[in-house]
Structures are given as C-alpha cells and as structure tokens.
C-alpha cells in the first residue's frame, strides 16, 4: 500500500522568524529583514506581507507601501546556524533528509516503517511542534507520495501549513490549482498560458498531447506528468557542495568611479577566495555583475585555463570584465562577484609550482590572521590606494 511518505518542509518567513526568536517583542509587527535605505527586502513578516511588502523588493519602496515597517539588519551567521539546527531536528525523524536550501528541504519517511497515514501525520506534526518549541521557527509541511506534490502542498497554506495529499488523489489535488503552481511555469509562461485559455491545472489536462506539444515543445511530456502529479525523483541526501561562491554590495550612494568599483570587486575576490580555500576547493570562472539605479543589470564572466584557489590569477580579469559589463556611462548601485566551476584540488602534484606554493602558504597565513576579526587585519595593496585617497578627502573636508 502506498503512503504519503515524501515530506516537504518550508520554513515560514525564515530570516524574520530567526530574528523574532531573538526579539520576541516584535512578534505580530510589520517587520522585515533586509538592507537599509538602498537595499532589498530578503524576508518579510506575514503582517508586513499583508501590507504589500514582498521579496525581493527595494527597501525604499517597501517603506513607501508600509511606512511603519520595522527594518531588521541581517545578522551574519544566524540563519545558517538555525537552518542547521532545523535540519538536525528533522534527522531525528528520518536519516533521509535533503537540505535543498537554507529554509526548505525534503524528508523521505519511506524506510521508517510507518504503516498508516495517521501515524505519519502524527509524527510529522510532532516535528512541526518541536521546531516551534525548540527554535521558535514556524514551518509548513506538505505530505504526499512524491516530491513535486509535497512541495506544492507545503506552500499551499502558509504559515504553519500542514497539507496531506492522500495517495491516488494527486491529480485531483492539483487540478483546481492555478497553473503557475507547477514547477517550470513562471509568471511569463503563466500569463501566456492564460492567453491560451489555460488558467488552472485542469485546463492543461483537458488538452490533447498534440496541443501540449505545440504549447511546450520538447518538454510537453514532462509538463503533462507534472500536471498529473507524477514525479519519481528520489530524495537526495548526498551532501551537496557549493556550486558557486558569490558576494554583492549595494552602495550607500551610487558610484561612478571605475577605480573605486574595481577596488570593491577585488576586495570581494579576496574575501571569497578565503572562503574557497577554507572549503578546500578551487574555482575557474569569475563573473562580475553590475546594477544601475533603475535595477537594470548586466553581467560578464570569463574562465581561467585551470582552476585555482589563489586571488592573483583573477585580478587581471576584474577590470576587463567590469568594462564589458558596465557599458552604460552611468553610476552603479550594486556590484557583485561570483565564482563558479568549482572543482576539487587535483591529487596529482605539480612540478613547476613553487611560486604558486609560496603564494598558497602566504594566503594560508593571511587567512589565519584575518579570521580572527571581522575586518581584514592584513590586506592586499590594491585596497590601500583608495583608502588613502578617502582619508585625504576626509582631511580636506575637515
């Protein structure tokens, strides 16, 4: 007999919930976690959402639609820590936990030996209560026979949702939902489908294979499977390594000075590579993204011949990439740096790598020195020039 043993959990307003656990007096208020004036809302309380605040929304606009919004700054390290505790609690129920992102994941209760739906529901409810009791994090759950349906179910009645889709009723469960709930159907596709008379999942199912083929092309069979609630992806418990490392900075004021942007980007390169070395990885591709005040953005990337965990080979890419990405002669509100093509260090040792080995030893020492405080104790020379200029400017002002 099949049982709804695939569980999707999705923490409600996760960053805000973590903050509220520390500041319970703010519970029930319109609050949000995000950058100040020029930043972006990354998580909003349900009270704030009722007011029209959504993510990602520029903070300035959020404060316009909801003037009494209480802005909470990001607490570095907090969300990762709470996320870890949350999934650790999940593992008390089943060892098969897929940590999908910081605030959502899948559990597979199949091998736990439960025999009835009631038993499964009781155990998952216990987990939901425990997450609240121990961590003060509200979490929504969806229970179904597969990942696709459980994921849609968990998001259906947030916050603190608990939706079970009994085996055999998957298609009936999905049929009345808007077609945009299906994976792979974004707002654009949804609007286009509505134009074709497909607003709900049932409308999609009413179409013939031929019509679906002309609507979705090669992916039509997958789309039909989704609409019928069929999915056979297993819960993947393998510890997934980071696929990329990135960092971004929204400036307090728009910046039009190339040298200053380059300095900021290089600082991010330094900071990210320290993290990459800590993870014992190497990266090959650097992508630089710029964002203008009107939120239009442009990015450009390039790869090295071989992956590295040192800053030096990437320095010479920063300025050229920035020049290609930053085409419009306008100041920027944000710059971001991303490293991808993450690789393991090769096992085979190299022969003519003395300079690289020396640099790696030096980087190791710097990483150690810099790990003690929040600000870099020892910096690369390229960070100094502009600081001196800044100081001069400040002195001139004074």
């Amino acid at each position: 007999m099949s049982l709804p043993t695939i569980v999707h959990l999705d923490a409600d307003a996760f960053f805000v919930s973590c903050e509220l656990a520390l500041k319970p007096e703010l519970r029930g208020t319109r609050c949000a976690v995000g950058g100040r004036e020029r930043g972006i809302i990354s998580s909003a309380s349900y009270e704030a959402r009722a007011c029209g605040v959504y993510t990602p929304m520029p903070t300035a606009r959020a404060l316009k639609v909801c003037p009494d919004l209480i802005m909470l700054p990001h607490t570095s390290g907090l969300y990762g820590k709470v996320s870890g505790q949350m999934f650790d609690l999940c593992e008390t129920l089943t060892p098969f936990v897929q940590r999908n992102s910081i605030d959502e994941g899948y559990l597979d209760l199949g091998p736990c030996g439960f025999t009835t739906v009631t038993e499964i529901e009781a155990r998952v409810r216990q987990l939901q209560q425990r997450l609240w009791a121990d961590l003060q994090v509200p979490v929504s759950f969806g229970l179904a026979t597969n990942k696709l349906v459980s994921q849609i179910a968990s998001k259906l009645r947030k916050p603190r949702g608990f939706v079970t889709v009994p085996p055999g009723t998957e298609a009936a469960f999905l049929a009345p939902l808007p077609v945009g709930k299906l994976p792979g159907v974004g707002p654009k596709t949804e609007a286009a489908l509505e134009g074709e008379g497909i607003a709900f999942v049932r409308d999609l199912l009413a179409r013939s294979d031929r019509e679906l083929k002309s609507l979705f092309g090669a992916g039509w069979e997958e789309m039909r499977a989704s609409a019928e609630g069929r999915d056979d992806r297993p819960v993947d418990t393998s510890d997934e390594d980071a696929k990329s490392y990135s960092q971004q900075e929204t400036f307090g004021r728009d910046i039009g000075d190339f040298a200053e942007i380059e300095r900021i980007a290089k600082r991010m390169v330094d900071e990210l590579l320290a993290k990459i070395r800590e993870d014992k990885k190497r990266v090959r591709t650097l992508t630089v993204k710029v964002r203008y005040p009107d939120f239009t953005q442009e990015s450009h990337g390039r790869s090295l011949e071989t992956a590295t965990d040192l800053e030096a080979p990437f320095y010479s890419l920063v300025a050229p990439l920035l020049r290609v990405a930053w085409k419009q002669r306008r100041p920027l509100r944000l710059v971001s740096v991303r490293f991808s093509s993450v690789e393991e260090p090769p096992a085979q040792l190299e022969m003519f790598a003395q300079t690289e080995e020396k640099r790696r030893r030096l980087a190791g020492v710097l990483d150690q020195l810099n790990s003690r405080g929040r600000d870099a104790v020892v910096q690369h020379g390229h960070q100094l020039g502009t600081q001196k200029a800044q100081k001069n400017a400040e002195e001139a002002e004074g």
Partner: protein
C-alpha cells in the same frame, strides 16, 4: 622528366617522407611529394612548413626534371605495382605516366613552382652524433613530453649543448626526464633548442639508417642529416630533416631535480615494472594511482578502485631506512622503466609529498611528482 626505378626502393623512399603533409584546406600542394630527378638519383621531399623531409633514392634517370604528386595515394599505388621495374614519365603539363608490368597509371600532378622549398642551412652551430646513441637518448626522455597544447613550450624535447655536455630534457610539469652525454661543446657552438614533439617522432623513426647524424641549428630552426649507409633498400646519401623549433624559454629544469638523496633503493627493472603493471590493472580513470610502501627489506605496491577491487604486490629489496609510503600515477613509474635498457635502476624517495627519482649510472634522471594520498 623520365626515370626507371626499382619499385621497392621507390616505395621505401616514399615511406620515409609520407608522414609529413600539411592540411589540405590551406595549401593543397602540401599533400604532395616533390619528385626531382637528376643524374643517378631522384629526391623526394615533403613539408608541412613547420617540418620537412627529403630523401634520395638511386634511379636510372633518362631525362632530368621535377613534378609533385599526392604522396599518400602515390605511395599506395607504388606499393601495389605488379612488377619490380617501374618507369616514371612526367610530361611538361605535369601529367605522370607510371608503368609497371601490365599496369599503367596516369596521375595529375602540380608543377614544382608552387612547392615551398626546404630552407638549406649554412654555417649554424653543428654537431655530429652516433645515430644509435641519439635514438637511445631520445627514447629515454621523449615519453615525458607534454601533449597539453596550452603548455606548448613543453610540447617537445629540449636539447641543451652546454659545458661540454649534451642534455636532453622532456617534461609535462608532473614528471621530468633528463639524459646527458659528455661531448665537446665549443663556446661558440653552445646553445639550446626545443625540438617539437612531431619532429622528435619523425627523428626516432629515421634514426637507424646509418652511423652518423649531423645536427645544425640556430634560434629558430634545426636540421638533421641522417646518414643512410646501413640502408639496403635504395636510399643514398642522407635523409635531410628540417624543423622549426618551439620558440620560448624552457623552464629551469635544474631546480626540480632534487639535490639530496634521501632513501635510495636498487631495483630489478623488469621485475618492478611487472609488479607496477599488474597492480595498475585495478586502477580506474578516477583512482589512477599506485601506492608504494617501503619497510625493512620490503617494497609493497597497492592499488585500488572503489568500484572494482584492489591489488597487492610485494618485492624483497635491500632497505633499512624509515618506513615510508608515497603514491604515483602508474604510467609515470612505468614509462621510464620501459624506456630504459639496463637491468638495474635506482629509485630515490623521501616522503609522500616529495618527488620520486629514477636514476641509472648513465647520466639518466627521471623525476616524478606524487599523487596526494587520500
């Protein structure tokens, strides 16, 4: 042009020059062989602009002249001709009539004018060596050349004439092979070149035709005159091999050769090679290493791949140093062992992150970098 030639001599001559052709798309004439008839011989020349070969074969020349023909097909035809006597007759419009017994071919050629001439050498630096000796030296290092095109400097063998010594070096950045030979090097003739891998391959193929080989070189090109006095299938004079050299600075190889000896063991080359070879049979692309462990008078070799299994080999040796283990890519261990001919080799080790060094008593060194132990 008209000549009469022995089929097997002709085929042998064509076989010498067959490998060197250019890409057809850019210059069609580079897939042709230039045939020139003079006095009692014909010369055959091919080139791809980077590398050129010319050899001479005896023939009964009735009328001098020249023509070029597609070398691959010509070589195939000549090999298959029914009679040992072949007549070759080129008309002024570059059509060639080839006759042998009852078989007759008419082949379209191209005039000599379009064929790029091989540069001839004047008074560059010049040396003369024994062919067998140079071949032996090249064999003992050539496997270590890099095939990675992004490291083009390493795509060849480095010839260094310096301090009354010729050193040949090849490396791919993970292993390095070096062989030396004492010889007189006049100060004015000291110098070094990187001979491209393709040229090294051709040279190795050609170096058994006679006693001596003469080397001429300057900063941009090198030429080899390979005597053919031991050849009995028609080659006369010498084979001329011309090559551009890889331009750039070869890495400072001296600095990667360990100065000190740590633990040295003496090994029976064949036996050690067989053990490594067997152990490596369980290796896979993902786990491509063999672990070598030294303990008192014992050498053990282990290899494993998670999805297949493992192998263990042991050899009695004379060793009294500290226990140590280190892992290597098995090919890096086997290549020098295969290239050498002596029964015994020395193998020097230090620890798991330091290179292993093969040595023989004949100025040979091969340094191999280890694989990190997991």
């Amino acid at each position: 042009m008209k000549f009469k030639i022995n089929r097997d001599h002709f085929a042998n001559g064509l076989a010498q020059v067959l490998n060197v052709v250019g890409s057809k798309a850019t210059m069609p004439i580079l897939s042709n062989v230039l045939i020139e008839a003079e006095k009692d011989q014909i010369s055959l020349t091919t080139t791809n602009l980077d590398l050129g070969i010319r050899c001479k074969i005896k023939a009964e020349v009735k009328e001098t002249g020249s023509v070029t023909l597609p070398v691959k097909r010509l070589a195939t035809i000549v090999r298959e001709l029914p009679n040992v006597d072949v007549t070759f007759d080129a008309s002024p419009n570059h059509q060639v009539k080839l006759a042998s017994g009852g078989s007759n071919f008419r082949i379209m050629g191209i005039g000599k004018e379009e064929f790029p001439p091989l540069p001839e050498f004047g008074d560059e630096k010049a040396y003369s060596l024994e062919q067998t000796e140079l071949a032996g030296m090249l064999k003992s290092v050539s496997y270590a050349q890099s095939t990675d095109e992004t490291r083009y400097i390493l795509n060849g063998v480095y010839f260094n004439f310096k301090d009354d010594k010729l050193s040949l070096v090849a490396t791919d950045g993970r292993r390095l092979a070096l062989v030396g030979k004492e010889m007189e090097v006049p100060a004015a003739s000291a110098g070094a070149i990187i001979l491209p891998a393709k040229t090294v391959g051709e040279l190795l193929r050609l170096l058994d035709k006679g006693e001596k080989v003469k080397i001429n070189f300057n900063d941009r090109r090198a030429a080899f005159q390979i005597a053919t006095d031991k050849d009995s299938s028609g080659l006369i004079d010498s084979v001329y091999l011309y090559s551009k050299v890889v331009e750039g600075n070869y890495p400072n190889y001296q600095q990667v050769v360990p100065k000190e000896t740590h633990q040295r063991i003496k090994l029976e080359r064949e036996l050690f090679l067989q053990c490594i070879h067997r152990a490596a049979l369980v290796c896979s692309e993902k786990s491509n290493s063999v672990k070598i462990k030294l303990t008192s008078n014992l050498l053990e070799i282990t290899a494993q791949s998670p999805d297949f299994g493992e192998a263990h080999e042991s050899m009695a040796i004379s060793y009294s140093g500290p226990d140590l283990q280190v892992a290597f890519n098995p090919a890096f261990v086997m290549d020098p062992l295969r290239a050498l001919t002596k029964d015994e080799v020395f193998f020097e080790l230090k620890d798991e992150v330091s290179p292993g060094v093969f040595k023989t008593l004949e100025n040979f060194i091969c340094v191999i970098m280890p694989v990190r132990l997991s």
